[in-house]
Symmetry: C2
Subunit: 136 residues, 2 copies
DNA sequence: TTCTTGACCTGGACTATGTCCATTGTAGGA
DNA sequence: TCCTACAATGGACATAGTCCAGGTCAAGAA
């Protein structure tokens, strides 16, 4: 069983075949699948898994901080399992390919106090856009 | 007639009462309405305006570079008329309030060449998140 | 191993957001 | 004023996501 499932079981998560399959589908680097893509791949391994279960499981993984929800295009949300290494995203404007990237410096530091309007700012999300090598 | 409508007419845009109303609804600073909100306000001034027309007009304004499309929450897209002054967004994680902000420095410069994976990077979009004064 | 139970899964209805298209209307030029 | 190409309408359709009543099963207890 994967380290992820072990961690979740340790936190009282009941490990079912459905949850295992969703976790397996999300393994890897630069993985940014939509819920429907996750469902399509999960169905290959477990034909009777339902869409609702995939949505529920993804939502739980997000709440537990194991997966990050990304919406780079205003269409379907995407799920990024690379949650334990802070990073930003680089998106191809033409084909939609997404890469995880690590900018230098702390983007939070670039927002001066007088531009914070009294907010308590705690997170920054950066999306770089351009053309990937294949599309350029 | 507003400067915006003059500009658009000069570019061959036919000015109709529907388009005028949509443009008027979008006037102001820190305006970030969803398409349905724009429609709701437009209906107050022009009761028979249709949803399709509001979507079409917003899409045209975006293509013409007069309005920016923002999706800060993965739900409905929002339309920001502040298109001629580069800026980023600060969002309250609880109530969703959005402010336009101007960070210092050039966020593009923070992505080193070896983190660009051969992409031609041309744009950056930054979303700061936190709690607004009322929600904190 | 079997039992028990509450958490989990399912399928389908439902909501929200956005797109498409055939028909009708009209802005702006001749 | 009249014409016509462009725009608006409204309803069907598409996509993404949520909710729920009822059936199922993982994991601890004995």
């Amino acid at each position: 069983m994967s380290a992820l499932l072990e961690r979740l079981r340790g936190r009282g998560w009941r490990v079912t075949s459905q949850r295992r399959v969703v976790a397996e589908v999300l393994e890897g680097d630069h993985v940014h699948l939509t819920a429907d893509e996750v469902h399509a791949r999960a169905v290959q391994r477990l034909p009777e898994i339902s869409r609702a279960t995939v949505y529920n499981t993804l939502g739980e993984l997000v709440s537990l901080g194991e997966v990050i929800e990304v919406s780079t295009d205003g269409r379907a949300k995407r799920y990024d399992p690379n949650a334990h290494h802070p990073h930003q995203h680089l998106v191809c404007s033409r084909c939609g390919t997404i890469r995880d990237v690590r900018p230098t410096g702390d983007p939070l530091a670039d927002l001066p106090a007088q531009e914070r309007f009294g907010f308590t700012v705690s997170e920054v999300e950066v999306t770089y856009r351009g053309l990937c090598p294949s599309c350029a």
